[in-house]
Amino acid sequence: MQVLPSQDCEQYVTELDHLLSGVVGRGPDQVGKGREAVGRLWPELVSGGWLDVGMTAAGAAPMADMLKVARLWGGYLVPAPYVTSVMARRWAAAGDLDEDRVYTVAVGQGTGCLVPFGGWPGVRVLNDLGATKGNADPGSAELDGYAPSLGIARSPSHGSDLSGVQRRELAAVWASEALGGADVMFRECLEYAKSRMAYGRAIGSFQAVAHMFAEIHRDLEFGQSATLAAAAADEATAWLAAQMASEYAVTVLKRLVQIYGGIGFTWELGLHWYLRHAVALNELVAFLCSTQDSLSPGELGA
């Protein structure tokens, strides 16, 4: 498979980054702003064709491009079903989807599932793509407040009936999204460690801290490689790769809390939103990867 994103992707991701940073902004306090800004951002994403980046003149865009897009999106924690909508359009045959609709995925194949952005007005749950069976409403859903940036609903309805390839691709992009958030916090934390003084020195100059940064950088790099392995065609290893990629994101974020110290443990910094986002995505990836037919009441948090 293609390893690096295409040149087209590199270009439009720069433009998308510009759009997101202009509307949402950067920094650990952007989560609140993201919620405020989403009403302004979404129409721009739709009108600017940003929901269609998964489609090219030659067909579906390469997964390396999708991983790049999800990684960027993950750095902004915008609470909107962008990644699932992009993937839905990428998977769908022409005419299978209503262009004006917003799509999400219900994870779990039996009677009970998790639905990111299940409470989004008018959101449709993908089902039977290509079989023209239509796409279901999420039904009655109870919002999970753990990670508001994902708006996960618990739904008693059936999960999306995606193909194995679609499930694997979704696991890969969700893992990449989690790593995108971890990467943004890593860059923030790096700057913090260069300026935060302790005992008369920048904390980043202490070897113990410097080595943590080196290890985090290693984990982010290999997490990125794991998303590639997850998106590759080798079904035997792809699931495990996706799981490990999203685990790398969670591990990185927990270590960043440690480097930030007390401030990292505070609500105000906002680091916890990235951690919650990654933990929740890690759960979704785990559910996608699992072979079980339905989620148990315990797994649904009932």
Binding site: M1, Q2, V3, L4, L190, A193, K194, R201, A202, G204, S205, F206, Q207, V209, A210, H211, F213, A214, E215, H217, R218, E221, F222, Q224, S225, A226, L228, A229, T237, L240, A241, M244
Partner: protein
Amino acid sequence: VPAKTFEDPDVEIFRAQLRDWLQANVPKTWGSRFELSEAEQSRIKTDWERTLSKGGYAGVSWPLEFGGMGLGPIEEVVFYQEAARAHAPEEANVIGKHVAGPSIAVNGTTRQRERYLQPILDGVEIWCEGFSEPDAGSDLAAVQTTADIDGDMLRITGHKIWTSNAHIADLCWLLARTSREQSRRHNVSMVIVDMHQEGVEVVPIRDLTGERHFNEVSFNGAVAPIENVVGEINEGWQLASVTGFRAGRQAITGGLRRYLFLREWADTLVDCCASGPGQRAEAERLSMRVELVSWQVMRSAELVAQGRNWHQSTSVLHVYWGELMQDLTAFGVATRCARHREHWRHLDLQSRSATIYGGTAQIQKNVIATRVLGLKSPR
């Protein structure tokens, strides 16, 4: 012209042809090497170098003018991926092929290129690397071995230690001080030294596994013609840090060489040693970590091929595979596999070196923190 990628048709053709060639040429004896002595394994590896040479695969990314295949980092990655898949032997002449040769190709004189490069590819001259000293391990600029200029000769005096393969080497890629006045990092030179001469004494060092593959080397009156200095005199530290046309690729090649045997180790764990769901799950995770080495070098190789910044992705390879080797072999011991018990116990001990040689894991992390992430030098 777009940079080459792993999807290019000619790369796929290269892979297919290589796969066929490996299937026909990988020695069957290598598969049962657990039962062979160190000397027998060493002979298989040396023979493999010559087999690669005959097949034209000895220098995949070496330039055509120096006897290589003239291909790039993408094909080099493919070579190791397929060699790992075929469970091919490791290389015997790592220093010659991956350190000295590439540097001579770029920095050497015409005479040096003509004299030294072809024998490296032919597998007929084995090289060792004379860098580490008792008081200069990871800190190469601190070497004390001297190469004093005496007419058109250099007289070499000093001790090198932990010198792998010095006991079988024909030539040494030696870092020695050639100035007592110049500042640190501008007072050492890279010299090619004939190991078969009076004044060179090689004393094997027994490592903690009981093997004797590395050595202490004493230079006491050994000589080398001054024309054996590679690059500028007193600028050897630069050559020790960067290796010619492979600048940026050395870390990739290092990762690939480890992938070659890590893949086989992981296959052994999954196929034989791990029993029960818990052990199998752990073996599969370790196997995936091995596969991530391959993905990481693929990403790095495409970045190199495109001339883009590859430091971020290559800098973490050594730290990653070093720790992986230790985790994987420790788990091998923990499986208590009767068939591979001695194998894993040996490798578990041997892998202690994986976070020491080539710059300790701690030094590697310092380098990442300062040169890649821009933190101040740790104390």
